[in-house]
């Protein structure tokens, strides 16, 4: 399995045209920990998340400045191999988005296009990743079925398996449970906890209870600023900043 990485920004700014989405954010995301970002809509948490695999580059008019490091490497400097970066920094989205392919092909897709495995070795990668997301026992004999026929929870597990198949060291998750029912949410949360011992995981969530349940550390963002970041238990029981206090107690707005 891949080695874990830490994430770091120094003076990060993200603009969309004239809109200043992320304002001078300096943060360190600890290795092999699960870190959540919370905050109201439009506060910049997804923009910060997407800065770590340069997904913001795909948004027209987006400008990024400041330092962003993955595993100690500055990813906004010239010469950065974007494809290699996105292999190291996997991403899971709000809605499960499996390819319209079989279960096997979904997981094999990444290793195949990156030529990191083939033949029996590829079978092993698929098996290892499906075991990691607890789908192997159910789907081992049904790997050729269409991924689109799976339940929403299994689709999301499959998407996580697909991200793991290219051996990332970091997983970025943008509201990974928001389209799942409570039972599926709990099981995906457990999977995230399990994976956090091997991967650096950064999650954006609107669900404060989810952040409280699963995260080692939590950051609160407001109007593009990272207001406060610290151990989750501290942030929810004794926030340092009045703005965090107002948000976690439901006094924001």
């Amino acid at each position: 399995m891949a080695t874990a990485a830490g994430l770091r920004t120094q003076g990060l700014d993200v603009h969309y045209g004239t809109f200043h989405a992320v304002k001078n954010v300096s943060v360190t995301i600890r290795e092999r920990c699960l870190t959540s970002l919370i905050g109201p809509s439009g506060c910049g948490k997804s923009s910060l998340l997407r800065a770590f695999n340069r997904m913001n580059d795909l948004i027209p008019g987006c400008r990024t400045s400041g330092v962003v490091e993955v595993n100690g490497a500055r990813i906004y400097e010239g010469g950065t191999d974007i494809q290699a970066l996105r292999r190291r920094v996997g991403m899971v989205f709000q809605r499960p988005n499996p390819f319209p392919l079989s279960v096997y092909e979904n997981v094999a897709y990444g290793p195949r296009i990156h030529s990191t495995a083939k033949g029996l070795a590829l079978d092993e990668v698929v098996k290892r990743c499906l075991i990691a997301v607890s789908l192997w026992d159910e789907l081992a004999n049904d790997l050729e079925q269409s991924a689109l026929l799976l339940s929403a929870e299994k689709m999301q597990r499959l998407c996580i398996a697909r991200a793991l198949a290219v051996e990332p060291s970091v997983l970025l998750m943008d509201e990974p449970c928001s389209s799942l029912d409570p039972g599926a949410t709990m099981r995906i949360e457990q999977l995230m906890r399990d994976l956090s011992s091997r991967y650096t995981i950064l999650v954006v969530t609107h669900n404060m209870q989810q952040a409280a349940r699963i995260s080692d550390e939590t950051g609160f963002m407001l109007l593009g600023e990272l207001v406060e970041m610290g151990p989750t238990a501290d942030l929810f029981t004794q926030p340092r900043d009045k703005r965090t206090e107002d948000y976690v107690t439901g006094r924001y707005g």
Partner: protein, 223 residues
């Protein structure tokens, strides 16, 4: 004093207000119970002592009500920050108030252990009880108003009660030594003094919980 903004959901503010309202009622009831218990002891008034025992049911019922409110708030609101600290502190404070109520009952029951003869030191029990009750009232007001600065003054005066009880214990001992016939009454007074000392300790716990709720600072067991 801490002034918090209102919650986005006004019902949550109302729920917390209702908890505060019940706590204030419970505090007032416990205060009346203690006052009645001391009077029952000093006047050897069996009827009043029985009323204190009976009144404890209401104290216990309030404890159950407030507990239930808090547990419901934890389950349904999943409070965080100062709201979580308020609910956690309330769960402790109701226990302190209920214990003071129990000590009032024990004090009232001591009226059966004494005879008609008064000791010279008896009047000091009233004074000690007033100190404990003033502390209780101040602590609870501080908690309900989020006044950490005033709560700190309560905690600062913490050692005084122990000294007063020690003086009283010594004087009671001297009285009993001089007049062995007073031993039964003296021992009953000693028990009451110890109950009052415990009441005072529970009252200062409430002041400590005020600081925890308003400042997220745990000042228990520091001195």
């Amino acid at each position: 004093m801490t002034t918090l903004r209102k919650h986005i959901d006004a019902h949550f503010d109302e729920e917390l207000f209702r908890v505060k309202e019940r706590l204030a009622i419970m505090g007032r009831l416990v205060e009346l119970q203690v006052r009645a218990a001391i009077a029952a002891f000093l006047q050897r008034d069996a009827k009043r002592a029985a009323a204190v025992v009976e009144g404890d049911r209401e104290v216990n019922q309030l404890e159950r009500d407030i507990d239930e409110h808090c547990v419901r708030t934890l389950a349904l609101r999943q409070p965080a920050g100062s709201d979580l600290r308020f609910v956690a502190a309330t769960l402790k404070i109701v226990t302190d108030l209920e214990r003071i109520g129990d000590l009032a009952v024990s004090t009232a029951r001591q009226s059966r252990s004494r005879d008609d003869v008064s000791l010279q030191t008896f009047h000091r029990l009233s004074e000690l009880a007033e100190t404990a009750l003033t502390t209780l009232r101040t602590s609870l007001d501080c908690f309900l108003q989020g006044d950490a600065a005033r709560a700190r003054t309560v905690i600062a005066a913490d050692g005084q009660m122990a000294k007063e009880v020690a003086y009283l214990t010594a004087d009671l001992g001297a009285e009993m030594t001089r007049e062995p016939a007073l031993v039964a009454n003296g021992l009953a007074a000693l028990m009451v003094a110890k109950h009052i000392e415990r009441m005072f300790a529970h009252a200062t716990n409430i002041a400590e919980m005020t600081i925890y709720t308003t400042s997220a600072q745990d000042v228990r067991h520091i001195t």
